[in-house]
Amino acid sequence: TPSCEPETPLCCRRDHYVDFQELGWQDWILQPEGYQLNYCSGQCPPHLAGSPGIAASFHSAVFSLLKANNPWPLGTSCCVPTARRPLSLLYLDRDGNVVKTDVPDMVVEACGCS
């Protein structure tokens, strides 16, 4: 899924980097220094509904044509994450212990229309 271009109306991935220093949390999250908080937004027109990952390809073009020629309920398609990955965190717990853990589904990698 491509990142959103400015003024992109269609469903795409919006990339935001969050620095833990900006949150004031650098005292307890040791690593990493920040992470990529991405989210999905944009319009899902009827012909794109149910097509996760709207990359221009032969298959997506055929899929879009099929959708365009078939009645599709309006307003029921959402721009949602279709692929996520975990984030490895090293942090201090309330007892001052160092904890390393992988938090699942933290980083959105791809978006698509539900």
Binding site: L37, S77, V80, L92, D95, N97, V98, P104
Partner: protein, 219 residues
């Protein structure tokens, strides 16, 4: 969230001003992290471990060690060390808050032996508690020969640590000369760095309990 017949919120809606959007993103990030770590609020760290001790401990750990999905690897520094002035005996206290939903499957105690090690000594580790020892219910967690100064990693049976539900784990360290060795055992302070940059630490690995695992084991 999507309600029947409504327009999906991610499909449109008013565009936020950049500052407002940034504030929203930061708030979302906070919520996402706390939720992912199963915390209700950010931990308040009153006694952070010294940076140097932390760096040394992290270097000691296995590189590229894999934490299982939803599992945790914890480094806990000995918070309090009580040492006997007359014998080679010491008690290490660790404060742990491992979730009860997790199962401890790996435990190692790291000790830094000072270069003043006089000779080969035998180090024995018990769960702390004189009462336990008198009743004969104590368990020898580990026995190790100290032959060289430097870092020593002692694998502890995770079964011996599972019953510590109070969140406080105390380990008693006793050392003594090996049989036939006439050298008197030194005091603990002469043997171990217990509070400095090379203070003892526990390395624990946990993973989520599998549903029905206890039942299967009993069967």
């Amino acid at each position: 969230a999507q309600r029947a017949g409504s327009v999906c919120p991610s499909c449109g809606g008013p565009t936020l001003a950049p500052q407002a959007e940034r504030a929203l993103v930061l708030e979302l990030a906070k919520q996402q992290i706390l939720e992912g770590l199963h915390l209700t609020g950010r931990p308040i760290i009153t006694h952070p471990p010294p940076q140097a001790a932390l760096t040394r401990a992290l270097r000691r750990l296995q590189r590229g060690s894999v934490v299982p999905a939803n599992g945790e690897q914890v480094i806990s520094f000995a918070a309090i060390t009580e040492s006997s002035t007359s014998t080679c005996s010491s008690t290490l206290t660790f404060y742990l808050s491992t979730p009860r939903s997790h199962h401890l499957y790996h435990a190692r105690l790291w000790l830094h032996v000072l270069p003043t090690l006089p000779s080969t000594l035998s180090l024995r580790i018990f769960p702390w508690g004189p009462r336990r020892r008198r009743r004969g219910s104590h368990v020898l967690l580990a026995e190790h020969q100290l032959t060289t100064p430097g870092w020593h990693a002692l694998t502890l049976p995770s079964s011996g640590l599972r019953h510590e539900e109070s969140g406080v784990l105390k380990l008693q360290l006793d050392c003594r000369p090996l049989e036939g060795n006439s050298t008197a055992a030194p005091q603990t302070q002469q043997l171990l760095d217990t509070a400095g940059e090379q203070r003892p630490f526990l390395e624990l690995k946990t993973r989520p309990k599998e549903p029905g695992a206890g039942r299967a084991r009993r069967r």
